[in-house]
Amino acid sequence: MKNSRRTFIKLASLAAATLAVAPKAMASSGGHEPVSVNPKAVHAKQWAMVIDTTKLHTAEAIEKLAALCHADHNVPTVQSKKEIKWLWNDTYAHTFPEQENPHLAEEVHHRAYALLCNHCENPSCVRVCPTKATFKRPDGIVAMDYHRCIGCRYCMAACPFGSRSFNWEEPRKNLDLTKLNPEFPTRMRGVVEKCNFCVERLAVGKMPICAEASEGAIVFGDLYDPESPVRKVLREKFTIRRKPSVGTEPCVYYVI
């Protein structure tokens, strides 16, 4: 009697273990790889961006790009401290808080600076995410899987750049539903979101929408390709990054 119960428990746990493992094993088997990368896609080892603040330095100009970005990605407009933003502008002091010298050149001091996710090489948000909902792609983009995000907001606490926003309420409440971009999803309530370096455009060979519309003020390319437009600018111009001391290796550079 006792013996049969023990055997039953053994068998049951074995069955449970098999059930848990089997679907994944089956999904990865088969040999037939039914998916491939779009041949038009552009590739990099680490995508990076250089923002030339001598060319792009007014709030109006940056807001115009932000409006394009937000319309393209269906980012809701919330006018409160619960706001959601992928691309925005701020002052020198707020953008480079540890690099604000007294008597800074007035012209530099009064510029507006474009801010977005830095797509760090060593992102702390990816390190803390408990579900791999935010992850680093092979091309260096710090991506988000909104299907998987549980909304714990650990990534927001971990991001030293304040690049992440949370959907405190139903995002569609704050979107003009007649003007949605039908080719891109919205988000749902209770997930974190941020700039995705236009991964959906790179996948079909286009440049990020802000870079494309910036008239040359924003350069985009592979940080590890010495011939890339990004490396060309970095070679020629003096650039700084936000909070280099925290060790995340941000990939958005600013020409001052």
């Binding site: 409160s80 401290k81 959601i84 953008t95 390190r127 408990p130 579900t131 791999k132 309530r189 974190v192």
Partner: protein, 405 residues
Amino acid sequence: MLELALKGSKRYYGWIAFLLVLIGIGSMAWIDQLRNGLVITGMSRDVSWGFYISQFTYLVGLAASGVMIVLPNYFHSYKTNKHMVIFGEFMAIAACIMCLFFIVVDIGQPQRMMNMIFHPTPNSILFWDMIVLNGYLFLNLIVGWNCLQADRVRLPHPHWLKPFIYVSIIWAFSIHTVTAFLYQGLPGRHYWLTAILAARFLASAFCSGPAILVLVLLVTEKFTTFKMPRNALKTLVKIIAYAMCINMFFFALEIFTSFYSNIPGHMHPITYLFEHASAGLVTLMWTFIAFAAIAITLLVTPKFRNNLKLLPWTLAILVIATWIDKGLGLLIGGFNPTPFETITPYWPTGKELLVSMMIYATGALVVTILFKIATDVKKEMGHSQALPCGCSTEDHCDCAPAEAE
């Protein structure tokens, strides 16, 4: 043993009904949050964690604190504590339940919670926190329940429990260390980015947790025949005194490091909390300092420490002080100044407080039921019972009936 929780006085049932009403009221606010999202809270883009997570942090301390009774009992054979152990373990169960509940109400997509198990991510401290908290909950359930059951039939505690007991003692330190790691490993949050945070958490837990436990047991004594053995209480209060001194010493280390080094990032959260924040928050932070000073004075002076009339007040003051520090200031100071060196004030909304009330009431309900069972068993066994003279049957005072040892 669960049947013991079903048989109680009118007052016992009245109290349970009262707690259920509180839970009911709070759950309305929670339902509202589930329907409309975390928009009902005072949290924002810049202060993205708030009252829920800070209560979680404070209560992990309460969960860990039972070890201050359990450890002397098992590691030092300090058997004076043996009738107190169960209360430490049962308090830990209630605290773990509240902690997990506070996490559940804090996340934006609670129905996807299992993603933490479907996609386990060992590099995330939150993953480990989930493991250690659930583990600690089960360890205390196993150990507490089995020990009490053995006591009830006058049998020695089963041998197979030993490893669980020793693991649970070490585990208690791990839960609060891991909770501190949630905070102290984040780049760019200066108030948290300090190696001593875990140590500070433990020190704060080992004074505030036992203080809460003693307060609850003092109330328990009023309504049951249970009486804490005087020497066990005295030892525990001494532990509280030492832990509080260490806690404030660690806090002073933070102040020194920040201000002597003169590094702006390290000074700003502290000057914000104690100087530039809203008048209410600044007052609270100074209340923390004042209450901590009063509590330490009362605890280190033997005359005051041994005064049982004064003790509840001393402990209440200590709990308030540590709560302001860890259950409020820690979160607000961590998020302010923001990554943009700006200030975004945070204050919990009424609904946020109602949801928190629901969880605290749930914790109180669990404590009530578990302590009811434990005190009933103690009464059946005649362990640690109140004597007419005010002593406990475990004390060696004159009024105690001579025991054949």
